[in-house]
Amino acid sequence: MTGQLVVHQAGPSVSVQDLGRPGNLAFGLSPGGAADRLAHIEGAVLLGQGLDCASLEMAGFGGEFELTADGCIALTGAPMITKLDGQPLVWNASHSVLAGQRLSIGSVTAGMYGYLHIAGGIDAPAFLGSRAAHLASGIGALLRAGDELPLGAADGSGRAGMKITVADRFSGGVVRVLPSVQTALFPAETLARFEATDFAPTSRRNRQGVQMHFDGAPFAAGAQLTILSENMIAGDIQMTGVGEPFVLLPECQTTGGYPRIATVIPDDLPKVAQASPATPIRFVFVTHEAALKAHRPPERYRLDVRATLQPLIRDPRNIPDLLGYQLISGAITGWE
């Protein structure tokens, strides 16, 4: 069973994503891939398919979609108001979709990036081993109304009616960082103030980076005024000297000349990507040992999420201790 995903309407920033294409830094191409990698993995768990199956990343707003053949979808990442032929659909869950039904995905209710996964994955053309659009490099493109995307063979995957339980990563909070290439150029008191400062994303953001607002003096590196361009990675926090810093996301450039005060650990980068404007964020330095202990590579995260997988609606026949439940507590008579 394969078919197509028809795009009737698309939000301003909807693109095909997967876990990106590492291996091309030397040619000036950053790995790219989903801004919230965890959400991509969660969709693969819900549909029981490989991490290489591409999903749709939707920044802020989804769109109107239709499948040309019966299929199965999953919704993960930032929750969005979603209806299938007018009936609300639950987030962090998988659902059956019949050919011709109208899937309507609206605004986010928290966070920034929602993900639509379809059993079999979106079979967009692969480039250097990945289907991910790298918009900054002109690889792939934002989706537009009228696009028809081929889908991969579902191979028996695609279990509808399942849900997962995941930790909140849409409310900002503490974000763990490690030293980056120029951290040592910042005076100790500047680094201490960096950790004590409340930051919040502004609306200046895209898949390359998120600008952060804060109150107070700029965080200036000492000694050097001009810094030779150095290699750069997602998670790096660029201090511009004047103005507001940027946290770099997966589609960032591969080199940059602004001093970087720290690098967000990969496990907390989705929290930054998903923080909507004005969501408070604090950066705190941790040791590399602590970061390693906290690190969950994609395969490990996949197993952890899979352990939370359960049916969306519990069938009473599948509840072994049904008789132990207080099924009538809280019942009211109706005339109170």
Binding site: P22, G23, N24, L25, A26, F27, G28, L29, F127, L128, S137, G138, I139, L178, P179, S180, V181, T183, A184, L185, Q224, I227, L228, S229, E230, N231, I233, G235, D236, Q253, T254, T255, A262, T263, V264, I265, P266, H288, A291, L292, H295, P297
Partner: protein, 255 residues
């Protein structure tokens, strides 16, 4: 964490090993651009690649640094740093030979008329006449010192000292792919249409990024380029007729 090594220059602290977040280590040979530091970065990267350490995801270079992206769950940070320190030891990297597998590209380019809108301005900043400026650029065999900003886009150098000119403060809107622009003793050969602060002095038909090709990146770090001046007419002809992306360039291995 910035670390000079036991054998680093006591004055400058270079070479310097620095951690970059969870999964990167940078080996920096200088805080300012020199031909020797760029050569050191290219050579050292080749040495790291040859060592074939399990857990290294990929390596790259910036102008004066080699960079290692690695998986700390496979290769502990300490082990990688010790290995890099050992590889650095006992060799004067600033005097190292360039790695093998490099190529020389001879690329026809026009430095006149519509293809050189800022040649006069750039030449004046360099204290040269436009003719001297073209002779200087075409007479220098430049090296791909690093690729970046856009996929496959080379930073080429190092030009003679005259060319230590700043970028313009304003941005030029949308230089075309193939545009050759100059600043700070370097040339950029643009691969995508992009606004820039570099001044356009020439144009060629060579495309550094070819997404439709089996090998989408035409150039490798360390490759060398010689721009052979051609007339405006000849350039128009190349741009109109070249379907390969090579822009009538020739290539040979550097032995």
């Amino acid at each position: 964490m910035a670390d000079a090594l036991p054998n680093s220059d006591p004055q400058t602290g270079f070479p310097m090993l620095r951690n970059v977040g969870f999964s990167g280590v940078s080996v920096c040979f200088s805080d300012h651009l020199t031909e020797a530091a760029n050569r050191a970065a290219l050579s050292f990267r080749a040495r790291v690649d040859a060592a074939g350490l399990p857990g290294i995801i990929e390596t790259t270079t910036s102008l004066t640094s080699a960079f290692v992206s690695y998986d700390p769950t496979v290769l502990p940070q300490g082990t990688l740093r010790d290995t890099l320190a050992a590889l650095l030891e006992g060799e004067d990297w600033l005097a190292a030979d360039l790695p093998e597998n490099r190529r020389l590209w001879r690329i026809p380019a026009s430095f006149s008329g519509v293809f050189a809108p800022q040649l006069e301005e750039a030449a004046a900043l360099a204290g040269l006449t436009p003719a001297q400026a073209v002779d200087s650029i075409a007479g220098t065999q430049v090296r791909v010192m690093t690729l970046g900003f856009a996929p496959g886009q080379p930073y080429l150098g190092i030009l003679p000292q005259d060319w230590d000119i700043p970028r313009q403060t304003g941005l030029t809107k949308n230089l075309p792919p193939g545009a050759i622009a100059v600043a700070i003793r370097q040339l950029v050969l643009f691969t995508t249409e992009t606004p820039t602060g570099w001044r356009q002095v020439g144009r060629c038909g060579f495309r550094g990024f070819r997404p439709e090709a089996p090998n989408p990146f035409a150039l490798r770090p360390g490759d060398e380029i010689r721009f052979d001046p051609v007339s405006e007419d000849r350039m128009q002809d190349i741009l109109a007729n070249d379907r390969t992306g090579n822009g009538a360039a020739s290539v040979e291995d550097i032995l």
